[in-house]
Symmetry: C2
Subunit: 218 residues, 2 copies
DNA sequence: AATATATTCTACTGGTTAATGGAATGACGA
DNA sequence: TCGTCATTCCATTAACCAGTAGAATATATT
């Protein structure tokens, strides 16, 4: 019927703009980093292991899709997600990917700390235990990210400082370590180190973005 | 540190496979159609206004990303979404797109029935009114789609039959028409027709997929 | 004035993609 | 066996994309 087609094509094309942003591995990595808080271009480039120029190009795509905002602070330009729902979408996409793609499931298994005792769902009971002090929830990300947002009752010891600051952690209680999310390897490294040193450590694969989505859905 | 990069690249690449699927307008349209229930290749091709061969190619992409399943029924091959969460992702992507992209917002306004009285959020009260019979919720999609799933208390009159079956509808109550979702134009056409014929009609932009997501999030 | 940060422009390579068409093949029903 | 439905293989066009690089530019700090 009449000019229906043109209108429809236009609508789906616009939605596809968002999809395109999430179709590049490096852009996904940048989005995940931005889920941890605002960051400068240089920082993003370093964390994602790409050149500043390429980072700039990817950020441009994100900007043109209105998914990030920029703010100048002195010499640096800081990027942040334009809305929480961007983080939500990232979480939902990688969750669906893990549900559907066996290849991804297998790749993930490689990074899971071998004696596989990672806590999954049990959010409520983890909080309860953390509140009582029965377990220590440990945030091993850089401290700026911890300051931006962290899990309830979490303590911050960045991975880099962990070896020196082991004394701050108790040996008689479980330590639940987390980092940026399921594809960040810092918590896995932390757990490995802790176990070597005789601690009882557990790897929590969720980051703040995943936690937020999960706790909203009850 | 060590082979971290290779692993990370692998992980994000897998997630990007899902993103890629949602980066093509035609594929998005096919996903939306599949949100209405299982459909044959030929039907999908017709509805999306593309050739069977191209449809087949796009469906192949969906299949390789494990987002759809196929089933042979006689001469035809029927496709369906592999999981409800695929529909959820479609809803979340187009919702985010509408939140962020002004171009999409403007394009959407064109299809909104001019005297703009579309009911938004008020799910609870709509159900209540429909239960009491104060309003008629009208599903104008093909009847197979209605049979697969429909909104609570909805009645089915496919758009094609609407003109002949106008007598079934009351003139003293509001009629809330909906179709496949915000980018489907059938409900808008229905509202136009109904108003011309002296009915009090309202366009509900949500389809079953959007309704499901919204009612789950309370 | 010199420096650091970040973007932009141009240009190139290699690879991928959507869409179309022709031809062949498989799978099924009548 | 024939026709229908659907996929596949092949080839093509045109467009796009990631990544890299050189050079130029803008902005702000010192």
């Amino acid at each position: 019927m009449k000019g229906t087609r043109k209108i429809k094509d236009l609508l789906y094309e616009q939605v596809a703009r968002i999809g395109k942003v999430f179709s590049s591995p490096k852009r996904l990595e940048l989005v995940e980093l931005l889920c941890q808080g605002e960051k400068s271009v240089e920082t993003l480039a370093q964390e994602a292991s790409i050149s500043v120029k390429l980072t700039s190009a990817h950020l441009r795509e994100l900007r043109m899709a209105q998914l990030v905002q920029t703010e100048r602070q002195g010499k640096n330009i800081y990027y942040r997600l334009a809305d929480k729902s961007v983080a939500d979408l990232w979480v939902q996409i990688h969750t669906l990917a893990e549900e559907r793609l066996i290849e991804l499931q297998m790749a993930v298994q490689k990074i899971v700390t071998q004696p596989n005792d990672l806590v999954p769902s049990d959010r409520e009971s983890l909080i309860k235990a953390a509140r009582k002090g029965e377990v220590v929830v440990l945030d091993v990300r850089p401290s700026e990210e911890y300051l931006t947002a962290h899990l309830p009752f979490a303590r911050s010891i960045p991975l880099e400082e962990l070896r020196q600051r082991l004394g701050e952690l108790p040996k008689d209680r479980s330590i639940v370590a987390y980092c940026r999310g399921p594809y960040c390897l810092m918590a896995a490294d932390a757990v490995e180190l802790l176990r070597q040193e005789g601690y009882s450590a557990i790897h929590l694969r969720e980051g703040v973005a995943e936690w937020a989505v999960a706790s909203r859905q009850v």
